[in-house]
Amino acid sequence: MTKILQKTGLTLALMLFAATAFAEPQTYKLQVDGLACPFCAFGIEKKLSEIEGVDQLDTDIKAGVILLTMKDGVLLDETAAKKAVDQAGFTLRGLEQVQTSTQATVENQE
């Protein structure tokens, strides 16, 4: 009985995760080469903000990283990101999805 309850709870948690994760805003970490001055950061942010679904941009000029958060339920197209950075005159060296807070909570419970 206990095992059944545990499995049911885990299933419900996973269902909740599946329902909320897709609605959770997705954040991506873009590693940009060439960025070395504040005035240049504007051009990159302007081109990235033109991608449909982009909600927020946070640039760290020292790390050469831009954290890009999409609107609920929208995923980032890597091709579009690469093109936007290129249009600004810089190079997208890497792109990865940042772990959301919901993902971290579920993994901790398991």
């Binding site: 060439g34 960025l35 504040p38 005035f39 240049c40 081109k47 760290d60 000029i61 005159g89």
Partner: protein, 305 residues
């Protein structure tokens, strides 16, 4: 009598407009007195306004010439794509020349729209790496005679060097290199302007070598985000002007070579830049009685949108 006075003014006061206002096509966090190869993002505009005061008064001719020229120079740049940027430069100028001639102290002046420049810059090489980049970009354009060049006063036609414009269409070109990292930036440029004749007068061609070193003074350590940068700037301008020609006759009191050192400061944010610099003539090897520069002060503001 009037012709001799006119020739005297022309000989004593011929001054290259290009050397007065120099290059300020650059709209980026970049040199104050010339271009940069940094990119203009596609579809992005950059605007710049620079105020220039050029004072000259060290007169070897004995005529006690004193020249003050100031200009408000407006620049607009546009990124066609990540390699090609187009620029337009439109100045408003005010020039005044005082001198003693025939026992009388006279003043000649003119103000108004000056000659405008339009040019394109194309990146032929770029290397983007973490925390920096290196670029090479040639540029070419033309200076068009949007300024008036036939003004007169009570003493007759103003000399060419006091007129707001030259009356001539003058092509120019060059190449600029930029190396930029988080701590500093180096720019270097070679350029040439071929002046043509108008109304019987032709300014000498101008060849320039320019260099700039911009060093981040503050913040000393970066810790995230995009803080404003305070740069200390040191630039150098080596300017050679050929002799002017009037009705095909070379003016031996014109042209020469000047070398300026230019200390300055810039404050740079994501959306705007404020800057000031002073061009100090270190070497002036000028022909005949050509008037020497005392100093040139430049202060300006840039923004992007």
């Amino acid at each position: 009598m009037i012709l001799s006075w006119y020739l005297l003014f022309c000989r004593l006061s011929a001054i290259g407009l290009f050397a007065i206002f120099g290059w300020i096509g650059a709209t980026w966090s970049a040199p104050i007195t010339f271009n940069t190869a940094l990119p203009v993002a596609e579809g992005t505009f950059v605007a710049r306004e620079q105020f220039v005061i050029n004072q000259s008064g060290n007169d070897p001719s004995g005529a006690a010439r004193d020249r003050t020229a100031w200009a408000a120079v407006s620049v607009l740049g546009y990124g066609v794509n990540n390699d090609l940027a187009l620029f337009g430069i439109v100045p408003y100028v005010n020039k005044q020349l005082k001198l003693t001639t025939g026992g009388a102290r006279v003043s000649r002046r003119a103000d108004g729209l000056g000659d405008s420049k339009f040019f394109g810059r194309y990146t032929i090489y770029k290397n983007n790496f973490k925390g920096g980049n290196f670029r090479i970009a040639p540029f070419a354009g033309i200076e068009v005679p949007t300024g008036k060049n036939k003004r007169s006063d009570a003493l007759g036609r103003l000399p060419a060097s006091v007129q707001s414009g030259s009356g001539s269409w003058d092509p120019f070109g060059g190449i600029v290199l930029t190396y930029q990292v988080l701590d500093f930036q180096i720019d270097a440029q070679a350029s040439y302007k071929a002046n043509t004749a108008a109304n019987g007068f032709e300014f000498g061609d101008v060849a320039r070598l320019d260099g700039s070193f911009q060093y981040r003074l503050w913040p000393r350590e970066l810790s995230g985000g995009v803080p404003g940068f305070l740069y200390g700037v040191l630039e150098a301008n080596l300017i050679h002007e050929d002799k002017n020609h009037m009705n095909g006759i070379k003016d031996f009191n014109s042209g020469g070579t000047r070398f300026f050192l230019v200390p300055g400061v810039q404050y740079i944010t994501k959306r705007w830049i404020a800057e000031v610099a002073v061009q100090l003539p270190v070497i002036q090897d000028l022909n005949g009685t050509k008037l020497e520069n005392d100093f040139v002060v430049r202060a300006g503001f840039r923004s992007n949108f």
